[in-house]
């Protein structure tokens, strides 16, 4: 599934004195099977952009295309199943008496039979490695476990595109690494992930492409090498180190492992 935003504008509270333009002409495609990272400061429009990908927010101007066709012609429920959106701090959406029942909420809403719902729940819980918590109350879990239960609740819809809004905010380094593992596994199955983040180090590890938003506009879009080496001051630690060294023969590594390899070669050579 290919999602494309075409010259999307969004204005909050139009026509009132609280009017705020959040997106000002964003054009961007999410290709099948890629991890697209959207980075930018607070107020740059990242979360607004995320909510346009399943039309929870409607563009004030411009449109969303799904596989080349205008999404307004699609059923909203269908679009929201295929584009799974995980909000920032999603643990605030847990409401059921057990993790299993909470994760079953979305597949039940799809009208699946009991067996199919059970299967979806099992898969989602296994994917997030929380099968052992299935019968616990979501309110008795730790912060990281709650976050994973909430993400499982979206994965249970079996979406083709997964949109994660700041999924690692407030998580410890271990939980963060596990979550990035989930992103990679999801892509390996040929599906796409939109990762909204302001942690450039984690973006460096998993992103295939990076989109930099600034005050509602796309400031830069390309591979991590292109985007980060074009502006090393605003880049992950790996790129900052390589740029500061200024050794062109080392190439343009972005990921930690690649950077380490390049540095080793420099030291030995």
């Amino acid at each position: 599934m290919r999602l494309e935003l075409e010259d999307v504008h969004h204005v909050y509270a139009p026509g009132t004195r609280f009017e705020v333009p959040a997106l000002r002409g964003v054009s961007l495609a999410v290709e099948p099977g890629e991890v697209l990272a959207v980075v930018g400061g607070t107020g740059s429009g990242k979360s607004t952009l995320a909510q346009h990908l399943n039309l929870l927010l409607k563009p004030t101007r411009g449109r969303l295309l799904v596989d080349g066709e205008d999404a307004r012609g699609m059923k909203l429920g269908e679009l929201r199943r295929r584009v799974g959106l995980v909000f920032q701090f999603p643990e605030a959406q847990l409401f059921e008496s057990s993790v299993r029942r909470d994760v079953a909420f979305a597949p039940r809403r799809l009208g699946l039979g009991e067996d199919a719902v059970g299967e979806r729940v099992r898969q989602a819980l296994a994917e997030l490695e929380i099968s052992h918590l299935a019968d616990r109350s979501p309110f008795s879990l730790s912060g990281g476990e709650r976050r994973r239960a909430a993400i499982a609740g979206v994965l249970a819809m079996d979406p083709e595109v997964l949109v994660l809004d700041e999924p690692t905010a407030g998580l410890d380094p271990f939980a963060r690494a596990e979550l990035l593992g989930l992103v990679r596994r999801f892509r390996e199955r040929g599906r796409s992930v939109v990762l909204i983040s302001h942690d450039l180090d984690e973006v460096a590890e998993v992103a295939d492409r990076v989109c930099v938003l600034e005050r509602g506009r796309v400031r830069a879009l390309g591979t991590p090498e292109e985007v980060f080496y074009a502006n090393p001051a605003l880049a992950p630690a790996t790129v900052r180190v390589m740029a500061a060294l200024g050794r062109a023969e080392a190439g343009r590594p972005v990921r930690f492992a690649d950077t380490l390899q390049a540095l080793k070669e420099l030291l030995e050579g």
Binding site: A13, F18, G77, F87, P90, A92, F105, A106, V154, M157
Partner: protein, 262 residues
Amino acid sequence: MLGRGLGQFYPAESPVHRLDPRAKIVAAGAIVAGLFLVDSMAGFLVIGGAVVAALVVSRVPVGSFLRAMRPVLFILVITSLFQILFYRRGELIFGWGWIQVYTGGVELAAFLALRLALLISATTLLTATTSPLALADGLEDLLSPLSRLRFPAHELAMMMSIALRFIPTLSSEAEKVMKAQAARGAEFSEGGLLRRARALVPVLVPLTIGAFKRADELAEAMESRGYRGGAGRTRYRELRFRPPDAAVLALAVAAVAGGALV
């Protein structure tokens, strides 16, 4: 995003905004009480004139004033309709099957509608021109004589201002949770009343839990900054009762007395 409904504060620079909140509360109270003493059209005109004059001086735009009153319009229409249809005194002026309209009913409906409309106008004007904080301060001060009878005046005012302060927070939280559940396939505007009420469960549970958590955090933050209730507390904003306040109070009483006597 921002709830603009009944009782919304409209910040502006005007003589009415600058009045002592105590004067405004008492004046509004007098007018509300007076409305129940009035039983003539002329009396309503006198009080209505006073309210309209205050509205003009307050610089609250009439449009947003009326919009703030809109939620009550429904009640107003329903009550009037009931009076017209079911009060059967005076002369019959219209009859069609079981629908029978009498002069007494129309008269009563007009009185009731006027009384309600003026009552709501007076209180809306009070909340539109007085910030929630000033309102709570004024109320606390007016109730403080009762604290000798162990009435928790300060606590009541504090509860009121906290409740008002958190309405926008809760409504933005509700919006967020609703969106998150909509992303999981929840539908809030589908089906009959029962189904819609059930659809709200996934919103109300997280909202309630969040509210309790926020209350705990707020209490902790207040205590860590030394809050221990009203005893011995001084105020940053001292209320001052000045000549214009006395004048407004006198005018309100005069309007009520005039309205009741005409």
